[in-house]
């Protein structure tokens, strides 16, 4: 079990909490300690930043040969999402026929179960994405 390792990143996974550099205003996910543009000037100037969770599909794939913890969910859609604030993030797209997923479609973040450490271990929750449609906001 790796409880602390997963727990440490809970806020980032639950709420797409990344960082913003107070100097250049660049936003980053996942969280960063130092801004890759401002380097040492950004030390101590990185602030928590919550991404809205809205974005567009940059690229996607339907995974048929899953990683073991997702064996019961195969096939599933994995995508790179361009968040509206400008950063990229990798995540699954759920709740649709995988065949309708396409580049440039709008998505929004949803809160889902990612994996669990066996039947008795802890459950890891985090963000996935869903195509925007009627009823979305």
């Amino acid at each position: 079990m790796a409880v602390a390792r997963y727990w440490r990143q809970q806020e980032q996974r639950y709420s797409l909490a990344g960082s913003k550099c107070a100097i250049c205003n660049g936003s980053f996910f996942p969280k960063r300690t130092i801004c890759p543009t401002c380097h040492r000037r950004s030390i101590g100037k990185m602030e928590k930043f919550l991404f809205s969770g809205k974005g567009k599909v940059v690229t996607y794939t339907i995974v048929h040969d899953p990683i073991i913890s997702y064996a019961d969910q195969s096939p599933y859609v994995l995508a790179v999402i361009a968040l509206e604030e400008g950063d990229l993030v990798l995540g699954q797209i759920v709740d649709c026929d995988p065949r309708i997923v396409d580049i440039d479609l709008d998505v929004e973040m949803v809160f889902r179960r990612l994996s669990a450490e066996g039947a008795s271990g802890t459950i890891q929750y985090g963000f996935k994405f869903r195509l925007m449609d009627v009823g979305s906001s």
Binding site: T59, T61, Q73, L114
Partner: protein
């Protein structure tokens, strides 16, 4: 950048790649090592240092500290020869080779043995897929369902979208590499396949199918390196290391600025070309990291062999075949030769050495002067490029 002392390959050796049921990690490691030492024609007591490229004996075999294990097996613990294990996912072999070069160049050693080995078939394919994904970002990729092929599939889809690369062009990479593999007695797959077979094969991660992805393999490969002047004394056909380059990029693909190429390949190859003082057009033969077919398309673009976006059409034109403008993956590549993670980077160098020596048999390219090897860790977090020269 130049090396303070020049370095050459004086011996190579490897096991056949594939499912080696009857032999352990130790056994394949020593088999490759002894063949290389034999090929170099040196006494093992002359070896000053050992490097081992290995991605994850810890995960696959519950065994870390494999440098000591291999040193013992090769019989070099008697003189307490320094042995170092090097890790950069499936670029471990290429990186170990680079460390060996730097060791000799620094003057610390005159003769170095560098090996690469991986034993993957002791676990099920599902577990092997999971362990291999440790070369991606655990927190932000594999925890979210990513495998290595799925991450390459994301790049493939984007490449197809941006440049019009076709599913068939990806498949033709595999067809070519299987054809080359059929001419390589050490390859895991020595059978030609058709484009139709590639396209009809089961999906792994769309658009990539079974024939687009390198297999799970066991295997080891080794090289003996020597300082150039010493190399000339010790053997008649030393192959000179003209350029070495390394580049890195974000571990996870979502943190990169582009998804249709590997920035680290361009950085590593630029450094290697500059050191060698040559242009991409002077390379006649190259081994590139086709852990997935899209990897080869991106590599031949990033290495400067073809314009960005022309990797697919170039493959379709036959420019990368044995008879083409630049022969790519004459060994069969990772797809057909096999991909025992840590051994791959060394096996790539071995193929280039064979080609430059003119001893590649049925797959020999005509009179090559320069050959290049590109070894990628994971999805491009580390890339190692070497340029070798027939002298």
């Amino acid at each position: 950048m130049t090396l303070s002392r020049e370095v050459a390959v004086i011996g190579i050796g490897q096991t056949k790649f594939g499912e080696i049921w009857h032999k352990s990690f130790r056994e394949i490691g020593i088999e490759a090592g002894l063949r290389a030492i034999q090929d170099a024609g040196i006494e093992s007591s002359k070896v000053d240092s050992i490097y081992i490229g290995n991605m994850s004996a810890g995960l696959f075999l519950d065994q870390e500290h494999v440098a000591s294990m291999i040193a013992e097996e090769v019989g070099l613990t008697k003189d307490s020869v320094p042995a170092t294990r090097v890790e950069a996912a499936d670029a471990s072999g290429g990186l170990a080779f680079r460390q060996a070069i730097l060791d000799i160049s620094s003057g610390m050693s005159d003769i170095v043995v560098v090996g690469g080995a991986e034993k993957m078939s002791d676990v099920t394919s599902q577990i092997a897929t999971y362990f291999t994904a440790a070369g991606a970002d655990q927190s932000w990729e594999s925890l979210f369902g990513a495998t290595i092929p799925s991450l390459y599939a994301l790049m493939a889809r984007k490449h197809m979208h941006d440049f019009g690369t076709t599913r068939e062009q990806l498949g033709l990479v595999s067809v070519k590499n299987h054809r080359n593999g059929s001419l390589n007695p050490d390859a895991q797959f020595q059978k030609e396949i058709t484009l139709e077979q590639v396209l009809k094969a089961g999906p792994v991660s769309t658009p990539l199918g079974v024939f687009d992805c390198a297999p799970i393999s066991d295997g080891a490969a080794a090289i003996v390196l020597a300082e150039l002047d010493l190399a000339r004394e010790l053997c008649t056909n030393p192959i000179k290391v003209s350029g070495t380059g390394q580049g890195s990029d974000s571990l996870s693909i979502a943190n990169r600025t582009e998804l249709t190429g590997l920035k680290a390949t361009r950085a590593a190859s630029k450094r290697a070309y500059e050191m060698a003082g040559i242009n991409p057009s002077e390379i006649s033969v190259a081994e590139v990291h086709d852990s997935c077919t899209i990897g080869e398309i991106m590599a031949i673009e990033d290495l400067g062999f073809f314009e960005k976006g022309d990797g697919g059409p170039a493959t379709e034109r036959g420019d990368t075949s044995l008879e083409g403008i630049i022969s790519i993956n004459t060994s069969g590549g990772l797809k057909a030769r096999g991909h025992p993670l840590g051994a791959t980077g060394i096996a790539q160098i071995n193929e280039i050495v064979l080609q430059l020596r003119g001893m590649a048999g049925k797959r020999q390219v005509k009179d090559p002067l320069y050959g290049l090897a590109q070894n990628v860790g994971g999805t491009g977090g580390t890339v190692i490029v070497h340029i070798l020269e027939a002298i």
